[in-house]
């Protein structure tokens, strides 16, 4: 039924806006990424496409309606990479296209020829030799989990750099590398490009070794293959010659990172990378814009109710004599347009006593 008694809001005093950043911790463990929902390379939560350009990872077998898309994996390299044009270059065009697509969207173009910029493992994008990342693994995180953006300084990626059989701690002394963007924050440690802010993923314990990039607004990780080719900080045992992929016991099936990038299809390379992801974690950010309505209830009004139970034989139940204090109990606040349309409803978790001895300000926040 309609309400006919309203209190007008003064938009200059009773309405204000605010912005809140909400963060959620998102841990993506390697068990979801590989091996939980079936045998490796045929898991039900891994979706491959006939175009073969990337692979999707779900948190549950993707044929189920309750499955959520978590992220995609792709690999690519620039056409100036040493991998380009080598023999045994499976899907080379697609791999170059993938690299270019990410770079043109995230970094943009440069020069009079509008060449797509190349990813660099620093914050300058000045094409300095030694920092250009010509081969990359791209992990594109779903908006479902990144929400508005990844929180700067919260990213941690742990990759297995050991043997194929024991990627996270093999007895050759290789273990795992944890990459973090700990140097990034809202006040520094990032650079801004066409694709938004990006930060550097340093190897944990090695402040000078950058192993990848994180694009915060786009929710994309661009990981360098150096995680699997360069030695860990302080380690005497390098990853040179790492058996990056070895699907069976046949020694001839052993492949290095470069061999996987050139000799495997993108889908196969993604399988291998999934096998070597132990953990990805970050905090996402949801930007909540709110309008706050201060519903001021004066002391001398709204102390009576039109609730049918309020009266018994026309007598107000909460009073015995006319000098008793009238009282009502608020449970609901309705917010209306100027034409009396109910636009929003707010409910109190418990009734709020209203009598002439108190004046209330009910703060109703609507989030958008």
């Amino acid at each position: 039924m309609a309400v006919t008694t309203f209190e007008i809001l003064d938009t200059t005093k009773d309405v204000t806006t605010t912005r809140t950043l909400l963060h959620e911790s998102i841990p993506l463990t390697g068990t979801i990424v590989s091996g939980t929902y079936g045998a490796f390379r045929s898991e039900g939560n891994i979706k491959n496409y006939t175009h073969g350009q990337f692979q999707s990872v779900y948190d549950y077998p993707y044929l189920s309606s309750s499955a959520n898309h978590i992220f995609d994996i792709a690999i690519g390299y620039d056409e100036s990479s040493t991998l380009s044009g080598t023999t045994n270059t499976t899907q080379q065009a697609k791999k170059i296209n993938m690299y270019n697509q990410f770079s043109q969207v995230l970094l943009g173009y440069t020069g009079s020829n509008n060449d797509a910029k190349k990813f660099e493992l620093d914050l300058t994008l000045d094409a300095t030799d030694g920092f250009v990342m010509k081969e990359a693994v791209f992990v594109t995180l779903s908006r479902l989990i990144t929400k508005d953006q990844i929180k700067k300084g919260s990213v941690s990626v742990t990759l297995g750099t050991g043997s194929w059989a024991d990627p996270f701690s093999d007895n050759a002394g290789r273990g795992r590398k944890t990459l973090t963007d700990a140097s990034a924050s809202d006040t520094g440690g990032t650079a801004n490009t066409l694709g938004g802010d990006y930060g550097l993923l340093y190897e944990l314990g090695a402040p000078n070794l950058v192993r990848g990039l994180v694009f915060y607004q786009a929710g994309i990780l661009a990981l360098s293959t150096s995680s699997w080719t360069a030695p860990s900080a302080g380690s005497t045992k390098g990853e040179t010659g790492l058996e990056f992929q070895r699907y069976d016991t046949d020694a001839s099936s052993k492949k290095t990172v470069a061999q996987v990038f050139t000799g495997s299809a993108i889908t196969g390379a993604c399988d291998t990378i999934r096998h070597r992801i132990q953990n990805i974690s970050f905090n996402n950010t949801t930007e909540i814009n709110s309008t706050i309505y201060f519903c001021r209830v004066p002391h001398n009004t709204y102390n009576y109710s039109s609730n049918p139970t309020y009266l018994s034989s026309s007598t107000i139940r909460v009073k015995s004599v006319n000098t008793d204090t009238p009282v009502s109990y608020i449970t609901t606040i309705g917010l209306y347009s100027s034409s009396n349309e109910l636009l929003a409803v707010a409910k109190l978790s418990e009734p709020l006593k209203k009598d002439p001895n108190n004046e209330l300000t009910l703060r109703v926040r609507l989030d958008y």
Partner: protein, 334 residues
């Protein structure tokens, strides 16, 4: 729709209604006012005799669980809090349907509920009106119906006032009317009628020339109700989908207690009376598929085969907020 967690701090759970989301999509979402409600509260649980004293009177009320907010506009606030500033009020008006039969020409036009108010759909066919009205008149007891036309004579009579009871204070004298109603500005000047616009076209209410008194000979009834078309209320936030509103006049209810106690012959309010109003509904012409969509068809009633639609009409006083809900059955011969 669950209850809100009331084990800790008081929280507010707010949602946009369907209308709010539609306005948001249209780009004209603008909140301008607010209202307060207490629909969950059962004030009969207020225990003025609690052994532990006045601090415990409202113990049960304060423990009332509150539902989550929901998005349907018709479930927002059904009964709002009232802004009366006078803290001395002990009585508030109620509205009641007057179904008293009488011998005067006025009272013979009062529609009576049994248990519904019947409104005849003739779709402009006078013959049909005659045929079905005969069935209703032949029924035992006679069903006093509304004609459903723009010129029908019958109406539903609604009275408002303080229904305090026989031999109670205040009583139905003019002095108590002045002291308890007029002095406290509790006399309604109009009523809002909320009706389903899929079934009803117009509403008629009393013209200003109408009167309702027992100032006739031997304290007998004196007065008449003249019906006129009501004014639509254009910006009413009705709270119910498909409902429209119209404003009808309130006529001073001057039935007073007197030594011959004729007041109870004409009035259902037992105490100071404030106003009276009348509602006559006009059925939309051409209702056909509506009977199978929203009602029932080929039913046997009053020894006839009929189609009918049940609906509710709400009548609310503009000052007192006293309201009455009228269960209506629109009926036609199949």
């Amino acid at each position: 729709m669950a209850f809100l967690d009331n084990s800790g701090d008081i929280i507010l759970d707010a949602v946009l209604t369907e209308a709010g989301r539609r306005k948001m999509a249209q780009g004209n979402f603008e909140i301008d006012r607010f209202a307060l409600g207490d629909d969950e509260i059962d004030y009969s649980l207020y225990n003025k005799n609690h052994a532990s004293g006045s601090a415990y009177y409202d113990l049960e009320l304060l423990q009332t669980p509150v539902f989550e907010a929901f998005t349907q506009i018709n479930a927002g606030i059904n009964y709002g809090l009232l802004p009366f500033e006078n803290t001395d009020l002990l009585y508030l008006p109620v509205a009641k349907v007057n179904e008293l039969a009488g011998t005067t020409s006025l009272l013979s036009n009062i529609a009576r509920q049994g248990p519904l108010f019947y409104v005849i759909d003739t779709s402009g066919d006078t013959g049909a009106l005659n045929r079905i009205s005969k069935k209703l008149n032949d029924n035992s007891p006679v069903v006093q119906f509304l004609e459903g036309t723009t010129d029908g004579l019958n109406f539903i009579l609604i009275e408002a006032g303080l229904d305090t009871g026989t031999d109670q204070t205040p009583n139905g004298t003019k002095a108590d009317r002045d002291n308890y109603l007029v002095a406290n500005n509790l006399i309604d000047t109009s009523f809002s009628v909320y009706y389903d616009n899929r079934f009803f076209g117009t509403v008629r209410g009393p013209a200003r020339a109408s009167a309702f008194t027992n100032a006739g000979a031997s304290d007998g009834f004196q007065g008449n109700i003249y019906l006129k078309r009501s004014k639509p209320i254009s910006n009413a936030g009705l709270g119910i989908e498909n409902y429209s509103a119209a404003s009808i006049s309130a006529i001073s209810n001057e039935i007073y207690w007197n030594s011959s106690e004729t007041d109870q012959d004409f009035s259902v309010i037992n105490g100071p009376r404030s106003v009276v109003t009348a509602v006559a509904l006009t059925v939309k012409t051409g209702l056909s598929a509506e009977y199978s969509l929203y009602g029932r068809t080929s039913q046997t009633l009053f020894n006839a085969t009929v189609d009918y639609i049940d609906t509710t009409v709400y009548v609310v006083g503009n000052r007192s907020q006293a309201q009455v809900q009228l269960p209506i059955r629109i009926i036609k011969l199949s």
